[in-house]
Symmetry: C2
Subunit: 187 residues, 2 copies
Amino acid sequence: MKKNFDMFDQFPDLSEEAKRAFEAELDVISVDKGGLLEQEGQVCNHLYFITEGSARSFYTRDNKDITVSFSLEGEFLTAMHSFISRKPSYENLEAMEKTKVGRIKYESLLKLFEKHHDLERAYRLILEQYYITLEEQLIFTKFKSARDRYLDLMEYRPKIIQRASVGQIASYLDMSIETLSRIRARI
Amino acid sequence: MKKNFDMFDQFPDLSEEAKRAFEAELDVISVDKGGLLEQEGQVCNHLYFITEGSARSFYTRDNKDITVSFSLEGEFLTAMHSFISRKPSYENLEAMEKTKVGRIKYESLLKLFEKHHDLERAYRLILEQYYITLEEQLIFTKFKSARDRYLDLMEYRPKIIQRASVGQIASYLDMSIETLSRIRARI
DNA sequence: ATTATCTTTTGAGAAAAGTCAATTAATCAG
DNA sequence: CTGATTAATTGACTTTTCTCAAAAGATAAT
């Protein structure tokens, strides 16, 4: 069976045993549009890999829904803060369309680390990638106008603009819906 | 010899061998106020632990110096983005006063990981802590007014207000020097 | 001490983005 | 298909914070 997205592509040094052991712990899940993979208030127990579709992470503040990140096919996804700290998550993970994911439990992952040193390293790389993305986002937000943040998103992640709503994009880019709407009108 | 800050306190599960092996690779360095531990444009090759003093990370933009983080005694420190990615750093690490650090080379750390699985785990925990701090900073910045960001810093990290200049604090809190000055006047 | 330099404070006006309100467009359920 | 609900756009006005400029205060060197 051919897969479009192979999570191991990013980890060419993984041993075959490690890959097999990891795959044995994977659950494959299908979620409809709007379905939640993880909910705020609960400890996030899974690391996901998206094989089809897309998802976003968001939290709620003053009854508003604030998007933290978008994830597309071929990307790993979790509520990292909770997954790491084992504390209840403030994030929800939601499918933005019909989406297929592979997921592994936190406990299974830790167990695998005991036997497969190289899996712990691969996990470290995922964590590092998460860190870099976050740091770049922080710097990126800090120096750009609302308009430039939108133009950057268009340039670097155009698929997101196609798949996400104005409200989701606006909160992700840290601006009001109205501001985003005006920016789009004047491009 | 008594140490005020022991970096292993945070890692009670580390084996004695791992601690010894790690310590054997540590260099102890002393830096005067204003001295640079790492410079922008170069790959950051060290993970630091501050035993005395304090440091900050900053970068330069439009000839302005923007503080990214402050670190005090008992904390680990590096230009994480560069340390992880092995690309030139955009950050400088600067001692804010006479400061003593222990540091270990990136390569030494990787070598230690081969023999000491538990050290790789400890490093993962440092990385996770870095991630959490960054994520909290991102959320924290997003929802608070300039005034509340300052009040939060006063509450949670008062030592920083004592040791850093207005300019450093202002850029860290993402506001102009003038705004910070006005906030301080009206407390 | 005294000048020079750098930092901090204060004031006034400008700009970016936000809020509230009204209208138009899109989506969804029956 | 069609009314109902939700999402997006547009306009008017407000707010926050920034920038520029000048004054006051601190620090350092001679």
